[in-house]
Symmetry: none
Subunit: 262 residues, 6 copies
Amino acid sequence: MKGPVTWAFTWVNLIANKPNNCPEVERLALMAKKYKVYLVMGVIEREGYTLYCTVLFFDSQGLFLGKHRKLMPTALERCIWGFGDGSTIPVFDTPIGKIGAAICWENRMPSLRTAMYAKGIEIYCAPTADSRETWLASMTHIALEGGCFVLSANQFCRRKDYPSPPEYMFSGSEESLTPDSVVCAGGSSIISPLGIVLAGPNYRGEALITADLDLGDIARAKFDFDVVGHYSRPEVFSLNIREHPRKAVSFKTSKVMEDESV
Amino acid sequence: MKGPVTWAFTWVNLIANKPNNCPEVERLALMAKKYKVYLVMGVIEREGYTLYCTVLFFDSQGLFLGKHRKLMPTALERCIWGFGDGSTIPVFDTPIGKIGAAICWENRMPSLRTAMYAKGIEIYCAPTADSRETWLASMTHIALEGGCFVLSANQFCRRKDYPSPPEYMFSGSEESLTPDSVVCAGGSSIISPLGIVLAGPNYRGEALITADLDLGDIARAKFDFDVVGHYSRPEVFSLNIREHPRKAVSFKTSKVMEDESV
Amino acid sequence: MKGPVTWAFTWVNLIANKPNNCPEVERLALMAKKYKVYLVMGVIEREGYTLYCTVLFFDSQGLFLGKHRKLMPTALERCIWGFGDGSTIPVFDTPIGKIGAAICWENRMPSLRTAMYAKGIEIYCAPTADSRETWLASMTHIALEGGCFVLSANQFCRRKDYPSPPEYMFSGSEESLTPDSVVCAGGSSIISPLGIVLAGPNYRGEALITADLDLGDIARAKFDFDVVGHYSRPEVFSLNIREHPRKAVSFKTSKVMEDESV
Amino acid sequence: MKGPVTWAFTWVNLIANKPNNCPEVERLALMAKKYKVYLVMGVIEREGYTLYCTVLFFDSQGLFLGKHRKLMPTALERCIWGFGDGSTIPVFDTPIGKIGAAICWENRMPSLRTAMYAKGIEIYCAPTADSRETWLASMTHIALEGGCFVLSANQFCRRKDYPSPPEYMFSGSEESLTPDSVVCAGGSSIISPLGIVLAGPNYRGEALITADLDLGDIARAKFDFDVVGHYSRPEVFSLNIREHPRKAVSFKTSKVMEDESV
Amino acid sequence: MKGPVTWAFTWVNLIANKPNNCPEVERLALMAKKYKVYLVMGVIEREGYTLYCTVLFFDSQGLFLGKHRKLMPTALERCIWGFGDGSTIPVFDTPIGKIGAAICWENRMPSLRTAMYAKGIEIYCAPTADSRETWLASMTHIALEGGCFVLSANQFCRRKDYPSPPEYMFSGSEESLTPDSVVCAGGSSIISPLGIVLAGPNYRGEALITADLDLGDIARAKFDFDVVGHYSRPEVFSLNIREHPRKAVSFKTSKVMEDESV
Amino acid sequence: MKGPVTWAFTWVNLIANKPNNCPEVERLALMAKKYKVYLVMGVIEREGYTLYCTVLFFDSQGLFLGKHRKLMPTALERCIWGFGDGSTIPVFDTPIGKIGAAICWENRMPSLRTAMYAKGIEIYCAPTADSRETWLASMTHIALEGGCFVLSANQFCRRKDYPSPPEYMFSGSEESLTPDSVVCAGGSSIISPLGIVLAGPNYRGEALITADLDLGDIARAKFDFDVVGHYSRPEVFSLNIREHPRKAVSFKTSKVMEDESV
């Protein structure tokens, strides 16, 4: 990656239909195109009557590359969101590097991360809603473990950024909140494969953080520790990943069903 | 579905040839057009020398949309009707919602219902000949299970609605019947995805029952239970549905038959 | 099933370790033995640090037969309970009939029910926390659909049966509750394969409901509708069920691993 | 773990023969017994003519519990040490909790950590030679990821703690070292499952760090994130671990060899 | 092998990507084609971020036949190179004989050699960096033990063939080296199955050594000693070789995973 | 091995009954005791009516340690000798080192050698009848491969050392032999684990060759290459060795034969 590369992403809530043919997605695509940036954006996706916590990927020409669905919602999220499967754990090979994403606490899933390491991820995006200091520790660890750049984006928002009560209530804490109370403190950061924090964390307000990424650092890091290469022990540990879509019901019109043998 | 929508259907016996180019079907189409209603109508269809128990679908402009053939006739019906296959389980995406139908006791088939749920059915039509109270329990369950509106139509008829003996005899019970004896007691009903009975059941005579359907109830219901979405367990249960037509004899001019391997 | 058979069950919350070698389970086993009843009991099971909503089965001699884990927790339950898999969907062949269980809203899962129908379930137990009238509709439908007896147990409890606030609070409704307010209204019931309610529903207090089950009703019901037999259409619908345990990590000590060839 | 528990460990170099019947091991056992501590100690083990980087475990009565061999030596270590296998990844169930260990950079191996999580590790010991700040980030992440206490021990040593040149030379840097130059800066730390640093890191000199561990924090942490329990997705990711010893040559005197089929 | 056959190989260092679609490999293929020789060439292969010490095989028409990866790097090599597995121990059946290769000190591994003997190797290639006289002893022994021709290639190079310091330093010995100092003394040789040195060793400079191989010598040698045939004792010694690729992570997209049953 | 150790052996023909209670063996034992040497002696052993080519081991106090039977006779030997099995591949742990032996061309068997390497052989004795130069190459290779001292003894004898014709005839060559013709040229040698020839080979006459063995050379050699330790790849290659005696007929008085399942 020669010369400085601009990279921008953020984390917004968006009610989206299927990514294809959806006005919200088209608007994001246009933004990516207009600003000539690769855009990795957290959205709420709807398929049928189930919502998913999803990340969308766009290239710098506004092309929609694909999506990742959060595999396992956390705590109360499980009342809101469905469960992704192995078919949306993409790592896209782009001119600026191999890009993928894991969402919030699924970054803690060692097998999910290993799947992305095995796909050669170089630019590991981690949209989150966790603004605690321990998040930075996890991001640093992932950069070291995976030998990749980690770009973690978190929203910064105050009480007043949400609708007023009773339309929107923060459970059990509404009385203690002023309009300027920080609800989520941000803390976006960019970390190199050697564990160096290149930008952020910023806990003070909305911000655009940037860093020039020297992809050569990946080789430098993996020289000593290549998590799925020379430092793995495949004869002791082997991780199997099932990537086919999981569907409750499959329709076939051809006479031979592929999954007849399942 | 903005504003009130009028919906009407009933259950008649009809000897039909192929739905296309068939005067009876044209007459039904004209009715739908005249009254500007979506018409979901049970008929007896003839193909070759076999009869099928079939539902026809027309839109409010009189367009014939398609048909569903009962997959499995019940009891003595098997002496009269043939068996449908997977090629006629349609769910039509119309301006008033996604419409499909299951006939009488095939409503008890969990896999058939699941097929229609997976196609996103919103207005589930259930023409029947079962006027027992347990039928309402099944309709309520289906509304809850599928997160859809259930519209069940049953005929109300007396002995005198049929030809006189000996032209038409009710087996073994003719002597106890008066002309006003109720032969089938009706009980049509409309039930919401939350299990609320919006109209019916009416067991007292011919009637037109109506309800305004708030399709938003579907999302409200599926928030907690989405049968083929977030509440399914596709990695444990996967239902495969073969939708190709089943023919006893196929003619091919190409050298390799597609279904050779079936 | 000649002569009257006493059947008793209820729905209690219980923190259980692994079913084997667990004092709570032993106590249940002793109860079954003492009262000479088959006991089908809802419990909260703990494995490692994850809880499961589980049903335990004991025979009338106090033998622990096995368990079923709820496959998909409902709504807020997903914050508390883990997810069962296909390995605990048992139907036990006992001298009083084939017994299995589905828990609360997983009774709405058509594929889970079909799995139990395919295993020949005769005495379908449905512990629940749903005391609405629509629950009885679902139970009736399941009896008809599956051609089996349905025994649904629900707890009856008042506010005073729980600890006082602030130790235990009912979310958002505490101020409107008196000690005698009914929190869960019960409604246990027993329904025959022909859809006849043999006992219950009782919404007025704690109660023991009983019925004599004539297993011949199963054959009578299936004569007209055998959901996985003569009324199924396996060439159109085929449901695949994966029953092996799902483990995040598997350890092997023998030299030949089955997946050595992967 | 009621009441305060003293826990001590350090990281020393030791030329050991087989752990059993080895005077160095006996001396360590006596220390554990004398001070009534569980002792988790890094040693250099010799088997035949190959050395291993190993951790030994002793209970507070001086009983040798077992050992863990480093699976993959790092960088130049590979010229000195052999490779462990899957047969020495123990987690010991002791009265003070379930104890295991990973050595230095093998702590970066996500599959090794997952193996120990699956064995229920509660007290995760991480002897290391890495005194960089990023090490603390990794330890914090592991505590959060595994929902366990992490106890990381690193040596503090100065140039003068080693023999003088030419007997012992630090490669390429000898001239810049004074006798007081810090060669390895320590940084031992104890971290809770919630990511709280309970003791350390201490980079200033030899020290004994202690903390009282409230094992209830493990359940509190795993309520939201149970890495091999409710937050795993075993139907997507399954990790297989081969635990049998790997031997280049096996001798059998019985007539039936177990591995005949390998 | 009728008539004289020209055979040429050497040992060079080459940074190669994957053998397929790699310009360096294509260049080697063109050389083999141009000179109509079978080419067995040591290279440095890169996969992901891990390097392997590899031998490539080309036939005399320039076809790339396959590769062998060094199974175990020696000493400091372990800091640079990853570890091969059982999936790249090929023996190619070509018109000039059965060809395979072992790299440098892995020639000392009796089990690796036995694997190649069992595959019927006739032309055993041994690229090396060992120019000591004892190397010739090992090569002679292998020819006798395996009943095969051994062709060992080693580079001849002087200090001046490498970049000048400080760009490239020979550890600890730079001051004693003149530009003409021999760094690696060559010693390539060709040995018959009867232990006769047919060509080489040449320790004086770059050279092309050749010999006509009479493959009949193999049969003559094995008449008295057939290492995996009449002189083996399989009821006492059985060597098991696992040839499947070892992967830290495996992805599956088809619905039926081979390890689904694990 | 501090200080010089005297070691002596030779190669004689001896018709022996069972080693125990056999005058020839007692004579050898007395020699070992008298001269205070460890004695490793080739003999011809008789059991029943079959002869074996055997090596006997005695310690320096005249204690008979055990024996090794040649596993596979070579060429015409097969007309004279039976076949050993896995029960006599001993390596004796003595105060002067771990001692074992392989006879003549069975030294070419890579699996037999590996068995002895795995038993930790340090002083590898190789009585032989092969006086060709290639024998020295094999001995050198074995020393390097096994990281052990190799002591190879061969007889030196002339025609006159054998009975005169017609009592004893050398097949097809008798006429060209004078009484002083060398029949077997000796060539005994002692080689270090680093491949250095410490004594011999002597092809000129009967001789006693000696060397002081610095067992520290073994560790020095195995630092870089430990054939069954850090340089093995047990997950790729595993050698199984069956050490139980093979008997054509076994008598058992217990009802279950242990080898029933073989």
